[in-house]
Structure formats: C-alpha cells, structure tokens
C-alpha cells in the first residue's frame, strides 16, 4: 500500500513535473529523435533517414560559415569581455568619488534588454550620421557601412556583445573582490609586495573560482545570445554575421526545415557540452576554492 505522504509528495511536485516534462524534457528528447528523421511535408510523411541529416549538414557551406563565425565570435568576445570586466571591477573596487554612480553605469548594459541594446547600436553604426561615422567625420574620416560590409559586420556584432556582457561579469568580480579580506593586501604591503605582485600572486588566484564561473557563462552566452543579430543584420551580409543559433532559428522558423534545425541543435548541444566538460575538468582542477 502506498503511504499517504508519498501520494502527497507526488501531488506537490506534479505541477512542476508536468511543466518540466512538457516544455523541457520531452522537447529535448524529440529534438534528438527528429534529427534522425526527415522533415514531414504535406505530401510526404516523416521517415527515418539515419545520419543523412548530419551528412547534409557536413556539406552545408552556410553551416560551416556560421560555425567559423561563431568560433571567431567566441574567441574574440569571451576574453575581451572577461578582461574588461575584471579591469572595471578593479577600478570600481577602489575608493573614488561617485563610485556607486560608476558602478551603476557599468551595469546599465546588463539591465537593458538585448533588443533595446541592438537598436541603440544600430544607430551608432548607421552610415554617415550614426555616432561612429559622425565622430570620425570630425577627423576627416570617410563613410562606413559598418553593418553592410562583410569585413566589419561581425566585428561590429562582437563590440555590441562585449559592451553588453562586460558589465554583467563585472558584478561577479566585484562581489569576489569585496569578499577578499583587506588584511591580505595590508600584509602584502608590509612585506614589500608591489600592487602588481599582489595582483598576480594573490588577487588573480583567489578570483579563479569567479573566473571559471564567468568563463562558463561567457561561453554559453557566446553561442546562445543572438538577439542583436536578429535586430541588426539578420545574419547578413552574405552570412557574415550568421551565428549557429541564428542559423537554427532560420532553419526552423523561416525555412521550416525542422529536422535540419533539430540536427543543428544536437550539434550545438554536443559542442557546448564538450566545452563545459573541458572547462570544469581541465581548468576546474587548478582552481582554488576556499
């Protein structure tokens, strides 16, 4: 006989269970399954195709373009935003006038929705009368179509991402810095340690748990946040700013090729999983947790 409490327990977790299964677990499972089937069309029902979808993806030039774009995008934005975040946190951790104001200013990009951010930057990048061209024209600069040129479009998206991310990561670094006992710095001062020596030998190692956390988030965001692509370039020009997740969206909801979208999703998940495993497995061992 099932005990009363057991039934009650199940009843209590039922709402959460239903929601999780319906919107998380079941879609995840069907996504993996769908990647081995063809896309159902009006005349042709869905059928099992094995790894045909993966083979098609391998031969898809746009996929490879999006893949490399995303790789460069990650390699540029992650270190830039993390280093900038650390620098900003160190700057606002010292006693300076108007410190709360500066902290808030750094954090503002994080509070803005990415759609709003993208629209602001759309104006900054506008040829001729946008902020950048306007400032450059004062120094005799020429006209730039920042988002229209394949050479500058992806770097322009990277700048937006770094601007958006750095303030968010700064908060974590700032919290970690504030949790560091001030007498460590004092002890180092007494022992003749320069500011750089203290930073290198003490601050940086003690920030490693934060850095690992920030890095994991930065990697995920580099593959996850594509809102600005939707607003600013729609992957163009000529797929110069097409990123993997945006390509999944295009595949799934513009071309309605749901099987290929599912295949892409699985590939992206495997990539992210491998990266997370690498970060925690290799990097995590060298992190000192207090």
């Amino acid at each position: 006989m099932i005990r009363r409490e057991t039934l009650q327990a199940w009843a209590l977790i039922l709402p959460a269970l239903v929601l999780l299964v319906a919107f998380t677990h079941w879609p995840a499972v069907t996504t993996v399954l769908d990647s081995f089937y063809s896309t159902p069309k009006g005349s042709r029902p869905q059928r099992f195709v094995g790894v045909d979808n993966y083979a098609a993806l391998w031969d898809d030039v746009v996929f490879w373009k999006a893949f490399w774009n995303n790789l460069w995008y990650a390699l540029a934005t992650i270190p830039a935003s993390v280093i900038l975040a650390l620098a900003m946190a160190l700057a606002v951790n010292t006693a300076l006038p108007g410190r709360p104001l500066v902290r808030m200013a750094y954090f503002t990009p994080t509070m803005l929705p990415m759609i709003a951010v993208a629209n602001i930057w759309l104006f900054f990048f506008t040829p001729d009368y946008g902020l950048f061209d306007h400032v450059l024209s004062l120094f005799g600069g020429a006209r730039h179509n920042w988002l229209g040129e394949p050479a500058t479009a992806l770097p322009a998206m990277m700048v937006v991402a770094v601007w958006k991310e750095a303030g968010f990561f700064m908060i974590f670094y700032l919290a970690a810095l504030q949790a560091m006992p001030p007498d460590l710095q004092e002890a180092s001062n007494l022992e003749g340690g320069s500011r750089w020596y203290f930073f290198r030998r003490v601050t940086l190692p003690l920030l490693m748990p934060t850095t690992l956390f920030v890095l994991v988030n930065a990697v995920i965001n580099a593959f996850r946040v594509v809102d600005h692509v939707v607003v600013m370039t729609r992957g163009g020009p000529n797929n110069a700013t097409n990123l993997l997740l945006y390509y999944i969206y295009e595949m799934g909801f513009r071309f309605w090729d749901t099987s290929m979208a599912a295949t892409l999703t699985v590939v992206l998940l495997v990539m992210l999983g491998a990266l997370a495993w690498l970060q925690f497995g290799v990097f995590g061992k060298r992190v000192h947790y207090r």
């Binding site: 001062n189 340690g193 030998r201």
Partner: protein
C-alpha cells in the same frame, strides 16, 4: 659599540601622535618610547585606540599629527614596506591558496631575496617553530595554533628589528593561548626583536611585557613595567583594569567609607584595595557576604561594604554562606587613594 648600534635599530618612539575620523578621536596625542629588544604591550578596552596606534607604527594608517620614529629614523611618511617592521595580524592574514612555505617566504619573493637565502631563512624559521611537517599544506588545512605559527614564521623570515602583533591570540582557545604566550615570549627573547603587542587581556600583558602601555579613549593612562602598574596604579582606571579580579574601589564620605563608620587615612575620593590584600578576621572592615565563587586555588568572595561591592580573594576553599556578617582586614600599605573627579592616584595621609 656593536651592541649600541643594534639597540638603536629597533627602538620605536611615538611623539604626540593623533588620529581621528571625523568626530571620533582614536588617538589624542600619544607619546611613548619602546626600547630596542623589549616587549611592549599596548593594553586597553576595545575602542581605546591601541590597534590604531599599532597600525600607525606599521604605516597601515596615517597619523593626523605627531611623529613616528623607528630606529631613530623618522618613518611618519614612509610606506609600510620601508619601515623595517613585521606584523602578525589578528586574522593571521595568510594567503589561502598558497602553501605554508609559500606563505612564509611571500615577502622574501616580493623583495627578490635570492633563492638560497630564502631557503636558509625558511629552514631557520621552520626549525624555530617546529612546523616542518606542514610546509606543503594550505592554511585551510591547519588548526588555529598552526596558522598562528605560520603567521609568526612570516614575521621571523622578514628579519625585521621590530615585530608588531595585533591581538594574535584572540582566536585561540584558553589552553593554546597560554602555550602560545610562552612561545611568543621565548621567540622574542631569542631573536632579540622589539615587540609591540596589542591586547585587551591584562593577563597577557602582565605575563609577557617588559613595558605595559595602558590606553583609554586615545590617551595613555599609564606607561610602566607590569609590576609597577600592579603595585602603583597611576589612576583609578588602571586600578580597575589590572588584576584578576581587579582592584576594589570604594567611594569615601570624608574620611569614612561611604555607608560605614570605617575611618581610613585620607579624605574624599576613592579608596582602592586589591582583592588579594583582604583577609577574613575578627576585626576590620565590616562586610556582608553576597556570594562565594570557589576557583580551586582560591575563593573569590563578593561582599557588601557599606554601599559598595567588594571582592576578596581568599586562599583555599572558604565556606561563607550568603548573608553572613564578616570582617575584612588588610595592611595599611595595601590601600590606594584616588581623586574622585580626575581619577589620579593621591598620596595617603599616613
């Protein structure tokens, strides 16, 4: 001649040092001299300015006024690293991610001391402190007493002539505290460094110091060797701070203890007498017992004398029921007289 030069090196002298934060005054003109190679304890209740005083000597805080000299050199404006002092923090301030060995030689690496010299100094410190088996551990894997030793190790390898300690034993349990007290004192004697030691525990001060500086509200109440501070407290505050339990202070009405007909030599102010100077006898100060606390070697009896409360420390186990009427006798030489308003010690009218 060599000895003189060495003596000069570790002398610490403060002249009119003041420090305030806005309205609050931490130090109101502190002047003191600590001779080289001596053990000086800065003693006082919390908030008396003793830690501020130590931090100003270290250079971690800047004085608003006055001079700090170390080894005859004016260091008032120098950064901490240039002052030639080592410091043991209350929290030990060990770097949690570095091994014990790395913690100890942290400063030597910062100052680019040659590796062979580093190893030599580390070996010596490790041998003195007996922590050879801990060198590869991290501070988090050590007990409080072991962490304390590592912090001491860092001070030893610096080979500074002056060592500053900020309540170094406050995080240890009572038994370990007594052990470390002896160890620190032995260390100071062996290395011959000048020690400036901050504590609020008067037993530490009495047991370790060559010189005790008792601070109260940013001012020096008395600067004297422990025995003198015990025997001749300069103020009623010193009297009520030193001793276990501290000196009894009774208000006087004219030449009588308030609420009694007991006549004392001296009029007005406060009469002081140490608990251990009182004995139970047939005649003397009439008292009524409130309670008796048996401590093993002796019993501390609390009584009412007139309107005032008096503690008497009597040897052995003394059975006195609450409410019992007794008489407490004493020697005249054990009486102290203090001014009622200024608190300063006054000579007895013998």
């Amino acid at each position: 001649m060599m000895a003189d030069m060495h003596d000069q090196r570790g002398e610490v002298r403060l002249t009119g040092v003041t420090r305030s934060w806005g309205e609050t005054t931490a130090l109101a003109g502190v002047s003191l001299t600590v001779r080289a190679g001596t053990f000086c304890v800065l003693l006082g209740p919390s908030g008396c300015g003793k830690t501020t005083c130590l931090r100003i000597v270290a250079g971690l805080d800047q004085a608003n006024g006055g001079r700090v000299e170390i080894g005859g050199r004016d260091v008032t404006a120098l950064p901490p690293a240039a002052r030639g002092v080592a410091m043991v923090f209350q929290s030990y301030a060990l770097f949690p991610h570095l091994s014990v060995a790395e913690n100890i030689i942290f400063g030597l690496k910062a100052r680019s001391v040659a590796p062979t010299e580093r190893a030599k100094r580390l070996d010596r410190a490790v041998e003195i402190l007996g922590i050879g088996h801990l060198l590869t551990r991290r501070p988090g894997q050590l007990s409080g007493g072991q962490q304390q030793r590592v912090a001491l190790g860092r001070a030893i390898v610096a080979e500074a002539s002056v060592c500053l300690m900020d309540e170094p034993l406050s995080n240890l349990d009572a038994q370990l505290r007594a052990e470390m007290r002896r160890e620190i004192l032995a260390l100071q004697r062996r290395l011959g460094m000048t020690m400036l030691y901050v504590t609020h525990d008067q037993t530490e001060a009495m047991g370790m110091a060559d010189q005790v500086v008792l601070l109260r509200a940013g001012r020096i109440e008395q600067d004297a060797p422990p025995a003198e501070m015990y025997a001749k407290p300069a103020t009623s505050f010193v009297a009520s701070f030193i001793g276990t339990p501290p000196m009894n202070l009774l208000a006087l009405d004219g030449d009588r203890i308030r609420g009694t007909d007991f006549v004392v030599p001296g009029a007005g102010g406060l009469l002081g007498i140490r608990p251990e100077a009182l004995r139970v006898s047939d005649a003397g100060l009439p008292a009524r017992v409130i309670s008796a606390e048996y401590l093993g070697a002796d019993t501390v009896v609390a009584c009412m004398v007139g309107d005032g409360r008096v503690l008497a420390r009597l040897p052995g186990k003394v059975d006195l029921p609450a409410g019992a009427a007794i008489h407490l006798s004493h020697n005249r030489a054990d009486l102290h007289l203090f001014d009622a308003t200024s608190g300063l010690a006054r000579p007895m009218q013998l």
